[in-house]
Amino acid sequence: MSESAVEAAIGRAHREEWARVVAGLARRFGDLDLAEEATAEAYVAALERWPRDGAPLNPGGWLTTTATRKAIDRLRRESHRDAKHQAAQMLADDAPSDPTGPLEDDRLRLVFTCCHPALAMEARVALTLRLLGGLTVAEIARAFLVHETTMAQRITRAKAKIKAAHVSFRVPSAGDIRERLAGVLAVVYLVFNEGYLASAGDDSLRADLTDEAIRLGRLLRMLLPYDGEVTGLLALMLLADARRAARVSHTGELVVLDEQDRSAWNRTLIIEGHTLVRERIAAVAAGEEPPGRYQLLAAINAVHTAAPSARDTDWPQIVALYDRLVALDPSPIVRLNRAIAVAELDGPDLALAEIDRLTETLDGYHAFHAARADLLRRVGRGGESRAAYDKAIRLAGNPAERAHLTRRRDQLVR
């Protein structure tokens, strides 16, 4: 086997098998720390052995067996574990668990453990990226612009809490699963959004994070194929990510939706996203419960990505979808986005009146001032528009967005 083929096999095994190996070990040994370290060691062993012996026919099986051996070695070295406990773990069946359905998949237990509501949001994100995504601590630290030791500490502390507070490695009970799943989706969406428009740092878009979020979204859909919101979130991420290439100009400036070169959009992702949205529309029509926020956001993105141009967008449909979203979640940010759509349907004056009502709550949010600046420009209030652009630029953390806002401001006629 050639060197590049082995490298590709290891890369593929990392993407496809990491979460499964960690999850299987976590179930068997009841210890996330041990599961993570033994899995990492198994991949190091693969890096040494596969180039020499060739990649195994069943990489997942090889990694699981190797990681299990590494875990048992570790337990043997740790004298503090009482002998009986240790023996019980070593005697445990070597065969993989016999899954009777997706709810029995160890990876789903891992998802719910990493996203446990007793953990701080930043800890959930870090654990999910490390244990499910297989990102290194250094990669996660870089993604969230914190020092590597800080991130390592965050992950260690979260794992220690899971252990000390006895967070069970299981899927929540039927009564809790809905709320707990919403928490899981929030973690994935946060990772996606940080990549979609980085809130700080030199990189405007972080494809590593959007790709990882989509990968997690696909995993969740595979595990919970009949959950509308799981499908909705995946569709939303695909349709947003489809526009990636058109979202930043070659000079590093953010390009807003109505100015994007739509021929640069990724058709494959759009088709996949549209298929998922249609699947949900059919399911709701067939009597399933009405769509939640991710399905509505996916539908809004489906309408945008179905239009040949901004002008040809079905704005009444977009506003109608936002109305349903506001009914579900009347938060100021949702109302801001609805107002931006209203500007296209009913004109900037009406939208401006709606946006001004949000001033008190959104005064510290750059997108509020950016939207307001644009509307003020369109109604000919140049002076106020300039002041709003200034505020938006001051508050914006993303360099491409700052560049876009600065150009817009400088184009205002004095």
């Binding site: 004298s79 503090h80 009482d82 007793a118 000390a164 507070a165 006895h166 967070v167 929540p172 009970s173």
Partner: protein, 128 residues
């Protein structure tokens, strides 16, 4: 089964009805808390529970020096102090959190859930 402490905090200075706005509110909270305690007992979770006198009645003791030092008042200076607690046993964090929700409702206060050290974690500490 794992053991947890559920702590309830209240203002350092209490009024004539403890931490409650009126006598009726106080009696209602006591009744609800009593019912919650009975449920804990019958479901096998209960280990111990009690309420504390106000933090102003506390004495802080430092016996590390040659002569003991006694200080009037609680160890931590704060606007709110531990007012009462439960010690309970539960299968895991999810179970104890669900119980804490009921306890919080019953006693009309926020509840802090904290695990006790287990034999295993204590052993690990000894051998670290």
């Amino acid at each position: 089964m794992a053991r947890y402490m559920l702590s309830v905090f209240g203002p350092a200075e209490r009024n004539e009805f403890g931490d409650y706005p009126s006598k009726e509110a106080m009696l209602e909270a006591f009744a609800d808390t009593g019912a919650f305690n009975e449920m804990l007992e019958s479901a096998g979770h209960f280990v111990f529970a009690d309420g504390l006198e106000p933090a102003t009645t506390a004495t802080t003791v430092d016996g590390q020096g040659e002569r003991p030092v006694f200080t009037d008042g609680p160890y931590l200076e704060a606007k709110e102090h531990l007012g009462g607690f439960w010690v309970i046993e539960a299968a895991d964090l999810d179970e104890v959190l669900a119980l804490a929700v009921q306890g919080s409702k019953a006693c009309r206060g926020k509840v802090e859930v904290r695990p006790f050290q287990s034999a295993e974690s204590f052993q690990a500490l000894l051998e670290s």
